[in-house]
Amino acid sequence: MRREPPQTLGDYLPLLFPAAMLTIFFVVPFGTMIAVSFFQRQQGGFYTPAFVFDNYARFLSVFFGGVLGFSLMLAVIVAICCVMLALPFTYMLTRMARKVQVVWLVALLSILSLSEVIIGFAWSTLFSRTAGITNILVALGIMEQAKALTPSFGAVLTGMVYQAFPYTVLVLFPALVRLDPTLTEAARTLGASPLKAFFTVVVPALRNTITATLIMVFIFALGSYLLPQLLGRPQHWTLSVLITDQAIYQSNMPFAAAMAVFLVLVTLGLVALTVIAGRKGEAA
């Protein structure tokens, strides 16, 4: 069956509803945010409509640069960890019996139903000195004394990877299911070990999928603001935490909006760079 391009106005009608929804629920709020980011902050009050760059000027400092840098780095590390864990996992999952696959996928989906708050509290208990996993190690005689593993960078990373892992698997799963098994069979026939076949055949064949997944997890992790608070020290707080502080606790909407706009721009820029680099790689 060949898909025909829409010709009459009527053919475009089904598009109107999603377009309207997108405008109302995304374009308008985002436009409002951009507008507010140029408003004049009234200290000790609210804000007045204006067109000033003060809010952006305040953001351009070493301090906020550092926080932004940390947030981006954290999101990149989360994305890399997730894909590194999820790719072999999903690959093996697709080779299992249908029933086993269903059980695993349902379990992963059920993690998605947990809120960030629950995940944060669960991990902070698991990493605590009084009730945490180190107590098991002590009982087994591996450790001398129970100790607290939170707050720390490792705790933040663990929590965020745990939260993003199911998404990663669900994004990779369709592509890996569709992957032609004859590719690996050919590699095996030609004498490659399973490991070598995985890295020289499966991974390159999925390059675009892997890039897309990395970007998706990166953006997902960038918005995280609860886990860094629950599991990290203040130096592990992301820009999203500071945006929340400004918006909710300081009622400084213009500055919060400016930070958010900046974060979106930097994110889009990085994603664009990744896509361009990917295209160049393909062309070469």
Binding site: G44, F46, F63, T130, L230, W237, D245, Y249, S251
Partner: protein, 359 residues
């Protein structure tokens, strides 16, 4: 075979009829005099709905519709924006002191007439919130203390002074509030080391307090925004010392948890909320009756017993026993936060504070 099975439709019909019957009383009530009152959502609202509002309606015939306010300043923003459109999501709201000052800047609060609030004479002076020109913007609703709390298993002896926060022996053991405007640690520092909160009048004074406070950083394990997070860690001894609410800590101790709240010799931090009337409200008459009712010593005593708040009226006019009073308050002169700073210098303070704890 089951012959008496209830048909699904019958059940739905019965449910609808039941629901509309339940809804009836509120429709009837709405015809009488009424007042919408904003109270912090959760524990406060539940306690007021249970212990205060029904009695008020009985005494005055004014029905109260309680509205759950979000925390932070979100409610102030909503009230302000609604007032610009001539709407009042609540007539009277319980507002924090900083929110009161911010609302004053846009004349959000209808000035209150103390001639109609006879019981206002019972109030402690600090609980009457005034515009710069002397008009009354708000009247003290409730107050509460933030004190020095410890886990009794870890600290056999109760600490006596806020200086415990600076003690190197307490490295990585403290849980403190994460925001400059709700932890009031600058005031604590000033009172403990620099002779009083007046030391914060100048920028040099503030910077000195920030420097002194920076010494606490290595002792802090958790900077919390979420109360539940610290409370849990305090009870388990995971984070055995910190600042927390006196009333809630008392309740936890009464439940058998190994925690205690201590009023340091420099005083506990006393924070409070005001009743304020939105300028968009049409219910000024009812609002004055409500605020007057809430200022009665007997109602303040009820609040202390049932909700755990500290009275906003003078202690001698209430009938609280020593034990009841100690459960919610102390005779030690409290540290009163410098709310004015959080209005006039809020951005500067916030920036310095964030750099202090994040940097």
């Amino acid at each position: 075979m089951i012959t008496t099975s209830i048909k699904r439709r019958t059940l739905l019909g019965a449910g609808l009829a039941g629901a509309s019957m339940l809804a009836m009383p509120s429709i009837l009530r709405a015809q009488d005099k009424s007042l919408k009152v904003g109270v912090y959502g959760g524990y406060f609202k539940d306690s007021f709905d249970k212990n205060i509002f029904p009695e008020f309606t009985k005494a005055t015939g004014i029905a109260v519709e309680s509205i759950a306010e979000p925390t932070g300043e979100a409610w102030l923003v909503q009230l302000e924006q609604a007032a610009r459109a001539g709407q009042a999501p609540a007539d009277v709201s319980m507002m924090s002191q900083v929110a009161m000052l911010k609302g004053q800047s846009t004349d959000l609060w209808t000035p209150l007439d103390t001639a109609k609030i006879k019981n206002a004479s019972n109030l402690l002076d600090r609980f009457v919130n005034k515009y710069p020109d002397g008009r009354i913007a708000g009247i003290g609703a409730v107050s509460w203390y933030i004190t020095l709390v410890t886990n009794t298993d870890v600290y056999k002896e109760a600490p006596t002074s806020w200086t415990a926060f600076w003690d190197p022996a307490n490295a990585d053991k403290l849980g403190l509030l994460a925001l400059v405007s709700n932890s009031f640690l600058l005031e604590v520092t000033a009172k403990t080391f620099f002779g009083g909160t007046n030391a914060l009048d100048t920028e040099e004074g503030l910077l000195k307090a920030f420097d002194k406070l920076a010494e606490v950083k290595p002792n802090v394990r958790l900077w919390y925004r979420d109360e539940a997070q610290f409370e849990q860690s305090l009870k388990s001894g995971e984070i055995p010392m910190g600042q927390y609410y006196h009333d809630v800590t008392g309740l936890a101790a009464a439940d058998g948890h190994p925690v205690r709240s201590t009023f340091p010799k420099e005083g506990g931090i006393q924070d409070s909320g005001c009743w304020a009337l939105s300028r968009a409200s049409q219910k000024s008459e009812e609002a004055h009756i409500f605020i007057d009712y809430m200022c009665q010593p007997s109602i303040q005593a009820t609040l202390s017993r049932k909700v755990g708040t500290s009275p906003t009226v003078k202690r001698e006019v209430t009938d609280l026993t020593d034990k009841e009073f100690a459960a919610v308050s102390s005779d030690i002169e409290p540290i009163i936060p410098r709310y004015d700073l959080y209005q006039t210098k809020s951005d500067w303070l916030n920036q310095k504070w964030t750099e202090l704890i994040v940097g």
